[in-house]
């Protein structure tokens, strides 16, 4: 594997006696999209500002193999100019859109034809060429964030750092802009570190996901790995695995484990040894739900009988809580909910594959 573009060792930031960032090791690989997710206040923006050399930190940083002073000083400028940052608030300068996009290049001394060509190119790529002469104060939130993105991309940074860039946008604008960002990233090989509290953004954009909890990187891995196999209960809870069931491995053979949860047996793909106390994680969208005739029981593994305890209407989806000895959260579409005539008290059966259940050893 090639050398990481950014490598951090023992990065720590302390505010008012509290460690808001404590990351023993972090590598950002060349060309990857690394998404750091975490709840508000988990330190993910702090991490980004440290990587951007905008916030002093204890520890060591290297950029493309060169040591960087983590206490920003004059020598940091050289590295800052190889990166670009987009914040949640676009904070555009009080000049035209075109001049805003030009700022980063002008600060780096780009002039003349090259300057004009690159500005026009990136105004075009983010669909804001028609706004070039406008004042930022007349732009909508989505337009302003497009300018902010163009302003960052135009310097052709080696690393692009994005801090919740879509958080203050309405949903259609957010999806449109994420789509644009994705297609722009597909044609450049820019390394991206994106920080967000939104799991969907991570799923949509990330090659790798880091989960930040209370200033620590609780897990960092390929996107599928994090979402399928969260490393801890906290990670599972944050990335939206709503069903975390306490149980114990009864037996295990050939990578298939039988887990007892509240007297019921679940099947899960796992190498854990018998008698290991575990947490079984099942994502709500991986569970199917069907109606059950009154009195029908089921003995099939991972097919559990129960009744609907609660239905939360989430617009296009219903979040259904099924009581099958323990509560299990299932997501179904509104349409199928209507078709089944689902209501609290309905007798139902839930089922999921052994691969959908992920076991975490419990302390």
């Amino acid at each position: 594997m090639s050398q990481p573009i950014i490598e951090g060792h023992d990065l720590q930031v302390v505010f008012g006696g509290r460690k808001v960032l404590d990351v023993p090791y972090l590598a950002v690989e060349q060309g990857e999209v690394l998404v750091i997710v975490g709840p508000n206040g988990s330190g993910k923006s702090t991490l980004l500002q440290v990587l951007a050399l905008l916030l002093p930190a204890a520890g060591r940083l290297t950029f493309a193999g060169e040591a960087v002073n983590t206490r920003p000083d004059k020598s940091g400028l050289h590295f800052r100019r190889r990166m670009a940052v987009v914040f949640q608030e676009p904070l555009l300068l009080d000049t035209s859109v075109r001049e805003n996009v030009a700022t980063g290049l002008k600060l780096r001394g780009t002039r003349g034809h090259d300057l004009e060509r690159r500005i026009s190119l990136w105004l075009e790529r983010f669909g804001i060429a028609h706004l070039a002469a406008r004042s930022p104060r007349t732009l909508s939130g989505g337009e302003a964030q497009r300018v902010s993105l163009a302003r960052a991309f135009v310097v052709e940074p080696e690393v692009l750092l994005l801090d919740e860039p879509f958080a203050s946008l309405d949903l259609p604008t957010r999806y449109a802009l994420m789509g644009d960002l994705k297609s722009v990233l597909a044609r450049t090989s820019t390394t991206v570190v994106l920080v967000t509290h939104d799991r969907d953004e991570a799923l949509a954009l990330a090659d790798r996901v880091g989960v930040m909890l209370s200033g620590r990187l609780a897990q960092i891995d390929r996107t599928e790995a994090v979402f399928r196999s969260p490393a801890s209960e906290e990670v599972a809870a944050f990335i939206g695995v709503e069903n975390v069931l306490r149980g114990k491995v009864a037996s295990q053979q050939g990578g298939l484990a039988w887990v007892v949860v509240e007297g019921r047996i679940l099947e899960a793909v796992s190498e854990l040894a018998p008698d290991t106390p575990v947490l079984a994680c099942v994502r709500p969208e991986d569970i199917t739900l069907s109606l059950r005739r009154a009195g029908e029981t089921t003995s099939a593994r991972n097919r559990l009988a129960g009744h609907v305890a609660r239905i939360d209407d989430r617009g296009s989806q219903w979040r259904v809580v099924v009581d099958c000895g323990f509560p299990l959260v299932v997501l179904i579409t509104r349409q199928s909910g209507h078709e089944m005539g689902l209501a609290p008290g309905s007798e139902v059966a839930v089922a999921f594959k052994a691969t959908a259940a992920h076991l975490i050893p419990r302390a």
């Binding site: 500002q49 951007a52 905008l54 004059k74 400028l77 800052r80 100019r81 670009a84 940052v85 914040f87 608030e89 904070l91 300068l93 009080d94 000049t95 035209s96 700022t103 980063g104 600060l107 780096r108 002469a133 406008r134 004042s135 007349t138 302003r151 310097v155």
Partner: protein, 232 residues
Amino acid sequence: MDLVWDGIAQAFWLLVRGDRETYQVILRSTQVSGMATVLSVLVGVPLGTLLGLSRFPGRNVLIALVNMGMGLPPVVVGLLVVITLWRSGPLGGLHMLYTPQAMIAAQFVLAFPLVTAFTLASVQQLNPKLRTQILALGASRWQMLLLLLREARLPLLAAVMAGFGAVISEVGASLMVGGNIRGLTNVLTTDIVSATGRGDFARAIALGIILLALVYAASLAITTIQQRTRPS
């Protein structure tokens, strides 16, 4: 009412006929106050920016001094400058008393606290996150300061106007350190005082109108710059 009409008519004639002495007084007023303003901007803008953006011990004491400076009585400043430049005073050897340079010095002392305080307020009203954003765009510290001042340019122009407006219409200090010597240190305000003292109301009114017109012209120029620099 005749008095007023006479004054207006005379002002008109003084300007139209091209009265050499009147033009000299206008020119001297503009030069003295203009130079004092330029010097105040050179000192006040960096000082105000420093006070506005950095944190150091004693900062509040300095800011309070600057704010006090906005209310300095011109006659007290005049007195201080006269004492300083008096033949036996600390800077008596410069032989500057009763010269336009002495007036510039006095007006500078009056104007720079104004410019400093307005600059301080201008940079403080900027979004504090803007500094981080500008650094993130790849700015060095100097480039960041220049961009911040560019962001604050509208209130900064108000600072320039406040400084110029205060000193061009000031009379106490200019009279004390300049002496209102005809053809050498008389400016519009000191001339108005002496004309009024002589009972030459027509000339006093004429110069008063000219002074108002001059201040208006300056503010018009600054307003035009202010509004032109904003894209629609």
